[in-house]
Amino acid sequence: MNDFIDDDLIDERNGEEPLDPTLAALARDYNAPPITPREAIWAAVERSRERETVVLPLPARRRIARWIPIAAGIAALLALAFAFGRFSSPGAAPSIADRPIAADSVASDSSRLPDAPATLANDAPDTETLESAPAPTPRRATRTGAPATDGPMQLVSDEPRDERSVDERGNAPDAFDIVAARHLSRSEVFLTLFRDALRGDETAELSPATARQLLVRNRLLLDSPAARDPRMRRLLEDLELVLAQIAQLPADDRTEDTELITDGMEAGDVLTRLRSATSTGVAATLRQGAL
């Protein structure tokens, strides 16, 4: 059969030609509809329409349900970002000030120093720790006990926390202050051992490499916010000069150079200032003007 029959041709031929009356009558019996169940259909339509007007449409409920976990996720993310910002910002005073001191590493390093001066090279400061900003230790560490030559030094945290240092500076000691305190402590130990070695004629045991490493950290601190206080800056600058001289000590016949270094240390009172700084803590030292 041709599927592309022209409509005019259909009308012209037999498109309007009805079926035989017998067939047409029989066709009317095909799926002959019964009486319309009007009330049953209407009742069902009404029930459905009432549900539509009372119940929130399903798509709307789905939209709301879909947004609940998204909103919860956004809220959790914001809370995490807020917490991270508070704990990572330099001005996070209260939370950092409440944390316990972390001076164990300084104490352990210092305790080994008198045993073998030659091991100073192994106790060299790690310059990476400055760049990675270690955890702040706002509690001031106080050195107690015998001098360095008589026994191991200990940095203990037996003083109550000085809340005023936080208030007066407007914020707590940040990571740079902590690194600076550790650096000053190590420098003090190193210079003490250096001076004692000179007195005991043990210059051969001194390691210029340790001085160079301390010098690197000292220069980094000079360029950091730790040197924002003028007194701290002056101390670091004086220390830099001493460390530079030690780092450049010749391998032989260095008596004259060592005398110059010793004179410079005494003239600038570097060692005393270092001890003062490390014994009372950087923040308190700054506040009291000991530097």
Partner: protein, 179 residues
């Protein structure tokens, strides 16, 4: 009350108007749907769904056709969709090449012409069958059929022609004088 007023009242939330609209069209819709689906429960469900959709979409009615034609289009869509689902199980419909075998009588002079005709109508393709039932049985015009099925009136005429030709061919062996 014309269709426009009735629609306005229904949209305003008048329950009497809703029932009036329903009463005005339900019989025609039910007859047409029943012709297509051939089952009372299924026809009832289809008509119910038709009026639910009609009331829901009444605000979109633009008056480009008669309200009855618009409701009929919804009804035909619902009925044909329902029929497609049912046909997967019934497997009543046959291809055009197989259809003549239905009308061919097992023996000459088969008295069951009605059954043969109904079988032949069942065997018509969906489009042919719908147009044949709506035009030759229910009396709709080609324009109305075109509007309700979403086709041109010419297409409706062509499908009616093919449906009639098919029925004549199917019943030729049974009643040569009628073919």
């Amino acid at each position: 009350m014309d269709d426009r007023d009735l629609i306005a009242r229904v949209l305003a939330g008048d329950p009497t108007a809703e029932r009036a609209l329903y009463d005005a069209h339900v019989d025609r819709v039910y007859r047409m749907v029943y012709r297509i689906v051939g089952d009372m429960d299924q026809a009832t469900d289809c008509v119910q769904e038709t009026f639910i959709k009609a009331f829901r979409r009444l605000g979109d009615f633009r008056g480009e056709s008669a309200l009855g034609t618009w409701i009929g289009a919804i009804a035909m869509s619902v009925a044909l969709n329902a029929l497609r689902k049912v046909k997967r199980f019934r497997q009543r419909e046959m291809s055009l090449d197989e259809a003549p075998e239905i009308g061919r009588p097992a023996a000459a002079g088969d008295p069951h012409l009605r059954a043969r005709l109904h079988g032949a109508i069942d065997a018509l393709p969906e489009g042919y069958r719908a147009v044949f039932l709506m035009h030759d049985v229910e009396g709709y015009t080609h324009e109305e059929i075109g509007s309700m099925l979403g086709i041109h009136s010419g297409t409706s005429k062509a499908q009616l022609f093919r449906a009639r030709a098919r029925l004549r061919q199917t019943l030729a062996d049974f009643a040569p004088e009628q073919a």
